[in-house]
């Protein structure tokens, strides 16, 4: 079976029409993982028993002539920050190396209810903190396009799994760019929905006001199918929005002619790689050729997004990660006689360097005497950043930018300079802070054959428009690259 071009609809129809079985499809993916993942490192845990049971269930439906659900028999991979009942979930951290969740994340449960076959859990930066996947507590992930390069992060395992055909689609999470940036680095589609569009229940919390779950896929249509499946109100997450979920797939083919697309000069300034600029500008030209109107907009506070993000995200993380103390579900340091000593040693041994750095920064920003100067200040600038978008979206339907200032960098290139690593997220963090949706779609390659991503940002809860623009661009590029 050729897995390289397999999409959700192709996999599902093959099983529905009994040209193959869900079981055989799952086995083919496991064989591929067995063969390829030794050098890529995308998976941390395989859930073979659970996958094959689900495949059997789907095959029985197909045999009985029942109509399969939208993801019937489709192999998916899940970033290891999403809880899976009975399947080890580590968040890429040694402190949770043996944690077996007693319940499922809502997004995973909804995918499975729609027939998806969960192959396993993908590697990521520890607690989703990183932009290169080098902060995994287990092993780094390598970019399938060039094994000396990073896949991006933090959802690097999910992006690499889709890019190397070890899953049809995958779920990732995005707090500062962690779906879109690895999608861009690995040459796949990555969608961050609006904050509140997808329930966060069962997602291991990094920064609760910024965390989003979303799909990584080979095509925009597959991303739309996954979003339609996982979106919508969930009583278990009070921040999930009680709004109707449009049929994103049906909306894909609506014409884009006449749509107004904003281009902000702040996203094309210093630090943007020449080849990335060229590819993104060519993509904008192509969209213009499809009848979109290109409108200059300004997002004047953009350069303040990274410092704002690193205060808000670390403050929330320092609080969220307080629960890992060696008592309830994490590894405990041995032989410590006092309770407070046990907490400290367990955390010291369990957390990696970047997680400790962020806990320290966040704790500092929240500590007495610094709260107003740092945390409150950042929350106020967050308002300004959000107003920038609200102002721009009065004039345009979507905004197009590069996803990342560069293509994939080399392993080790930025790992000793936290600030340089943080700047890898410069075009993605603002959307997380504002809570607006964004998608990265492949728009070319560098001379070294490294993928480049085009980012399309939309209004709150208007994923339909950015999916439509991304789809139109993807189709146009396919017919005339």
């Amino acid at each position: 079976m050729d897995l390289t071009s397999l999409t959700i609809d192709a996999a599902r129809s093959a099983v529905q029409e009994r040209k193959t079985t869900a079981f055989a499809v799952a086995e083919a993916y496991y064989a591929r993982i067995q063969k390829e993942d030794g050098q890529i490192g995308a998976f941390l845990t395989l859930s073979k028993e659970r996958a094959l049971e689900q495949a059997d269930r789907i095959d029985r439906m197909a045999t009985e002539g029942k109509i399969l659900p939208p993801l019937g028999g489709v192999p998916v991979a899940i970033k290891d920050v999403m809880s899976t009942q009975g399947v080890r979930t580590t968040a890429g951290s040694k402190i949770l190396s043996k944690y077996i969740p007693p319940y499922d994340c809502t997004a995973v449960a909804r995918l499975e209810a729609a027939g998806a076959v969960v192959l396993g859990k993908t590697n990521c930066d520890e607690f989703a903190m990183g932009s290169s996947n080098e902060n995994s507590g287990f092993h780094p992930v390598r970019n399938p396009r060039d094994l000396n390069r990073v896949p991006g992060g933090s959802s690097g395992g999910s992006a690499a799994a889709v890019a190397s055909d070890m899953a049809v689609v995958a779920l990732g999470s995005d707090t500062g760019g962690s779906i879109r940036q690895p999608a861009s680095f690995c040459g796949v589609v990555g969608l961050m929905p609006t904050y509140g569009r997808v329930s966060r229940y069962g997602l291991i919390a990094f920064a609760s006001s910024l965390d989003h779950i979303g799909p990584l896929a080979k095509t925009v249509k597959d991303a739309a199918i996954v979003l339609r499946t996982i979106a919508g109100r969930d009583a278990m997450d009070p921040t999930s929005a009680d709004l109707p979920v449009p049929d994103y797939v049906a909306e894909l083919d609506k014409p884009v002619r006449g749509l107004k697309l904003g281009v902000a000069k702040e996203y094309f300034g210093e630090g943007l790689d020449g080849e990335v600029r060229q590819a993104v500008e060519a993509a904008i030209e192509k969209l213009k050729g499809l009848g979109c109107e290109i409108v200059p907009v300004s997002l004047p506070h953009t350069s303040y997004a990274i410092p704002t993000y690193y205060l808000v995200a670390t403050a929330e993380a320092s609080s969220n990660l307080a629960r890992y103390d060696g008592v309830r579900y994490s590894n405990r340091a041995n032989g410590v006689k006092t309770l407070s000593g046990m907490y400290r040693r367990s955390r010291d041994e369990g957390f990696g360097a970047e997680v400790k750095r962020r806990i320290m920064l966040g704790t500092y920003a929240l500590s007495a005497g610094y709260y107003d100067a740092y945390y409150l200040k950042a929350q106020k600038v967050r308002t300004l950043l959000t107003r920038d978008f609200e102002e721009a979206f009065r004039k345009v339907d979507a905004i197009v930018t590069p996803t990342s200032p560069t293509a994939a960098f080399r392993l080790g290139e930025k790992s000793n300079d936290p600030l340089a690593m943080y700047l890898a997220d410069i075009y993605t963090v603002t959307a997380d802070l504002a809570g607006i949706p964004g998608i990265s779609v492949p728009c070319g390659e560098t001379k070294e054959k490294l993928p480049i991503g085009l980012q399309i940002l939309g209004k709150h809860f208007d994923e339909a428009t950015i999916l439509r623009v991304a789809h139109a661009y993807e189709q146009a590029r396919k017919s005339a690259p």
Binding site: P102, Y103, A322, L384
Partner: protein
Amino acid sequence: MKVTEKDVAYVADLANLELTADERAGMVRDLNSILDYIDMLNELDTSDIPPMAQVSDRYGVDESKQGSERFSYASREDVLEGLRKSLPQEVALENAPDSDGTFFRVPKVIDR
């Protein structure tokens, strides 16, 4: 320099971290470098700008209401509809490094 070794020790204490001498020295360097960068936020006058703690502060809020009433969209009836039942005790204890079957067990809090 904003953050001294003493500050790092104090913040580590608040964060329930111990950190080795090497880690503390690295933390002094990294936190100062990051905080120097963060200083650029002071270029902005934010005296009249309301803080944004949640994305929902920007939509869904009923502006005509006061206080927590403004966020009434997030409230629900006190019934178990659509919610998961509490975990049985044995399930909740399954991942504990140490328990006696009823409680989480930890080292002695008070020495006597």
